[in-house]
């Protein structure tokens, strides 16, 4: 099969091969995905994205401590315009909008991150297993995931919530389950490329258990595409969870939450636009920010692939 000499790539020195190699004897080096993150930092979009996301996350975390009022007290008549007392005015029952904005970000960010992380664990595990199993097992797993993919995410989550009653845990799980098949597809694709490599065969010939091959040999080699996938799924999770809050399946009044705020105050958007606009802008910025950062990482990833394409 592989009898033709594969010196081809060897004989044309690529530019990086000719560059001075990293100084020998330097002990452990940076892992490739750290290089990937550093590489992506070159792009302006990554910097903008990271700064936006960082600013919003910091705001959400320290918000409750710097909020001028408690989000649950009435500071004035409903829908009053911004004033020195309430900088962004009041909402539909007279809460301070600024305070509710400052306190309302934790849930959406926290739930999104947890849901995405859970989705990654589920999806990567399924993708790895599918990619490294006999075709029959692979087919069964992937076809089952295709069934899940057939449901639009929001419809699927609403279905689950309607069936099982609403709780935050359920929302996290439901969102994770809608993302998992998509992540599994990416993970499986990346896995398939690695399972054919000789170092995997080498471990198989030694009789290394499958679990160790999956976690020790394959997983470390597919981290880069998974990193991009994580960013992308996080973006979708934020949108989805904000939407669920808006539809009333997230936190319940009187809790402070950006999605819920949009729903509560939407009827008076003409009278008191801030109560809707600020949470909308924050959610939009958060989504755009994660998207920009992810885009930067994936650009760096493609760039890396091009440079070392021969290897």
């Amino acid at each position: 099969m592989s009898a033709t000499p594969q010196i081809t790539q060897e004989l044309i020195p690529s530019a990086d091969e000719l560059l001075p190699e990293p100084q020998a004897g330097g002990g452990r080096r940076r892992r490739e995905w750290t290089d990937l993150l550093l590489g992506s930092w070159r792009f302006g979009r990554t910097k903008v994205g990271v700064i936006i996301v960082a600013a919003i996350v910091v705001l959400a975390i320290i918000g409750p401590w710097i909020a001028p009022h408690s989000p649950y007290v009435f500071v004035g008549p409903p829908y009053s315009a911004p004033s020195a007392h309430a900088l962004l005015g009041t909402d539909y029952i007279g809460h301070d909008v600024l305070s509710r904005v400052l306190c309302g970000g934790r849930t959406v960010i926290g739930l999104s991150v947890v849901a995405t992380a859970l989705a990654m664990v589920l999806g990567v595990a399924l993708g790895l297993i599918a990619g490294y199993s006999r075709p029959a097992v692979d087919d069964v797993i992937m076809r089952l995931l295709d069934v899940l993919l057939a449901f639009p995410s929001i419809v699927f989550v609403l279905l689950l919530v309607a069936l099982l009653g609403h709780s935050l845990v359920l929302i996290v799980v439901a969102v994770a389950v809608t993302h998992a098949p998509r992540i599994a597809r990416v993970a499986r694709g990346a896995t398939l490329e690695i399972v054919g490599r000789d170092f995997v065969h080498a471990s198989e010939a030694l009789g290394v258990p499958r679990r160790k091959i999956l976690l020790g040999e394959i997983l470390p080699n597919i981290t880069s595409p998974l990193l991009v996938e994580f960013g992308l799924r996080l973006t979708y999770s934020i949108g989805l969870i904000a939407a669920l809050s808006f539809l009333g399946f997230g936190l319940q009044p009187p809790s402070a939450d950006w999605g819920l705020m949009i729903q509560e105050n939407r009827v008076a958007i003409v009278v008191q636009p801030w109560a809707v606009a600020v949470p909308v802008i924050l959610i939009a910025l958060l989504t755009i920010g994660t998207n920009l950062a992810t885009d930067g990482v994936s650009r760096a990833l493609i760039g890396i692939d091009r440079d070392t394409g021969a290897k």
Partner: protein, 594 residues
């Protein structure tokens, strides 16, 4: 000097941002109808220099100076339009891999006609059609419409390369640059392509620059040979002078590292590695690996000098080197002992093995034995089934296997996972490319820990000792344990792969083309190492290779395979000196030799 088709003076190519030299002070000339072989190991800058003759700059490199004169014109100062006219017209290029260089979406006819049309060859479509058929005849391909309507993927590798040759010769160029055109082809196909190149250059008086890593290939083709090392030409001379009285120590060492079919001498590798651009020393670049190096060698790179106008050498001590007979201090090869006497001695026995891919039978009843302290070579062209047999024995063949594969008389399960721990430990497989067989995300220590963890119950310190022992067996030291594979050279990586196999303390090593992705100088060191392991560790070995000359240097027995069958089997000297099977005879005849 008007009879020179090409003269190159002090050509310099450098890396783009850093300005470090890839090639420098390259000076050579080619007569009409002459073939000059440009020989060098990987990363020596030979391809970069060759493509610079067409004023081509690879991404990340730029031509930093010098003169390339073809037909009285300096190529490097031409305007883009003139350059376009020159390329493919006066000077043409045959790239290494025809399956990459031919456009897969265009029919052969379209691609060939394109060249003729682009250079305005002939005055009418009719004339070009005639030239097209003539070209096909020149490269011994059918010129009928059915053939010309084909797409590149419908041709064999050899046919593709001949189409590329036809394209290069289409406009009757004055000079043709061939960049490793036969690498990746089987020896039989290679022989045909070389024959075509030879007849075309001599018939039409075309000058050729033949770039290759394989001295044996140019030995029969080139009139003169230029040897390149770390971006400098170190020796340029007539073929016979170079092979019989090489004046540069590097040329001599290169010749000593090349396995030859006649193979009277043992192979000797060149330790160390060539300095890369940006980290090249002040003096002679080869001094660090040279046995003849003197303090003066470290001060200044030697100028072109040598025994004659035609034979130039860049070495301070060429006179002393020239005076020494070639191959003088090289030990003779150890000739093979008796055959693996009885089947009873064998560690691995293969009886009537039929191996399948899906439902297709690819090995049709193969028998072979592996004995301790002995090496059996499986030789054949691509598709002969040699790797399939090796993988079937190693337990990593994915398809069905019929017949018996026994280890010390006990049957081996098809799949390595289904085998007993002892069986897995005793049979170790070494892969073709060390670039693929080592996990790039693991340190050498983590890689070596895998077999130790799997087969032995060791404490941490015992484990470290075993790793260092394994590395020492392959002549590497323990400081490598914390490094990643991409910090090592190809030769070092292959040693690590061998060390991983040895860490399991096996009784049989299965080596699948383990040197085919390495340079000859490195290949020789790996062969030396494997031969030593057979001797000292006492392993039995299966050595799979497509390269017949290697067989003598490592194996005592050889099995020649073709189309899934062993066509001839026996002691190495007996088979190579007096082949019985027609296939073996043909293979021997097609293998280039020095």
């Amino acid at each position: 000097m008007s009879d020179y088709v090409l003269t190159v003076e002090n050509l310099r190519v450098e890396l783009d941002p850093s300005g470090a030299d890839i090639d420098d002070e390259v000076t050579l000339a080619i007569h009409q109808g002459e073939v000059l072989g440009l020989v060098g190991e990987s990363a020596s800058g030979k391809t970069t220099a060759a493509t610079a003759l067409l004023d081509h700059e690879r991404r990340g490199a730029r031509i930093g100076g010098g003169k390339v004169v073809i037909d009285g014109k300096n190529v490097l100062s031409l305007k883009p339009g003139e350059l376009r006219h020159l390329r493919g017209g006066v000077i043409s290029y045959v790239p290494q891999d025809p399956s990459m260089s031919l456009n897969p979406a265009l029919r052969i006819r379209t691609q060939l006609m394109e060249i003729l049309e682009a250079h305005g060859f002939g005055s009418s479509q009719r004339e070009r059609q005639d030239r097209l058929r003539e070209m096909m005849a020149e490269v011994l391909l059918p010129g009928d419409d059915r053939f010309l309507r084909r797409y590149p993927h419908q041709l064999s590798g050899g046919q593709q390369q001949r189409v590329a040759l036809a394209m290069a010769f289409a406009c009757r160029p004055a000079l043709i640059v061939l960049d490793e055109p036969t690498t990746g082809l089987d020896v039989t196909t290679q022989a045909h392509v070389l024959e075509t190149v030879r007849s075309l250059t001599s018939t039409y008086g075309v000058a050729a620059l033949y770039v290759t890593h394989d001295l044996a290939v140019v030995a029969n083709l080139a009139d003169r040979i230029a040897v390149m090392y770390a971006g400098r030409l170190v020796e340029v001379g007539p073929r016979d002078a170079l092979f019989e009285h090489a004046c540069h120590p590097y040329t001599r060492k290169l010749l000593e590292a090349i396995p030859d079919l006649a193979g009277e001498h043992a192979l000797r590798g060149i330790p160390g590695r060539a300095p890369v651009p940006g980290r090249r020393p002040r003096g002679c670049f080869f001094a660090a690996r040279c046995d003849d190096a003197q303090p003066e060698c470290l001060i200044e790179f030697p100028p072109y000098d040598g025994p004659g106008q035609d034979h130039r050498v860049r070495c301070w001590r060429w006179r002393e080197v020239q005076a020494r007979p070639m191959f003088a201090d090289l030990p003779l090869r150890i000739t093979a002992g008796p055959s693996c006497a009885a089947e009873g001695d064998a560690v691995v026995t293969v009886r009537d093995a039929k191996v399948y891919y899906g439902t297709k039978e690819v090995l049709h009843g193969v028998d072979t034995n592996v004995c301790p302290r002995r090496c059996i070579a499986l030789v054949g062209e691509s598709g002969s089934g040699k790797t399939t047999l090796a993988r079937a024995i190693a337990g990593i063949h994915p398809g069905k296997i019929e017949g018996e594969i026994l280890f010390r008389g006990k049957p081996l399960a098809r799949d390595a996972r289904a085998r007993s721990k002892e069986h897995r430990q005793q049979l170790q497989y070494i892969f073709q490319s060390p670039y693929g067989s080592l996990n790039p995300r693991k340190t050498i220590g983590q890689i070596l820990a895998v077999p130790l963890d799997t087969f032995f119950n060791l404490s941490r310190s015992e484990m470290d000792d075993r790793m260092v022992d394994a590395l020492e067996l392959v002549a590497l030291d323990g400081t490598l344990l914390n490094k990643y594979p991409d910090q090592l050279s190809g030769g070092e990586r292959q040693r690590v792969a061998i060390a991983r196999a040895l860490a399991a303390k096996p009784s049989v090593l299965i080596c699948d083309e383990v040197t085919s992705s390495l340079d000859v100088s490195v290949q020789a060191t790996i062969i030396e190492l494997l031969a030593k392991l057979i001797e000292e560790v006492g392993v039995g070995m299966i050595f799979v290779t497509h390269h017949l000359p290697l067989v003598r240097s490592i194996a005592q027995e050889v099995a020649v395979m073709s189309e899934g069958r062993i066509v001839e089997k026996g002691l190495v000297d007996a088979v190579l000196d007096d082949p019985q099977a027609d296939y073996t005879k043909r293979l021997l005849a097609d293998t280039p030799t020095i």
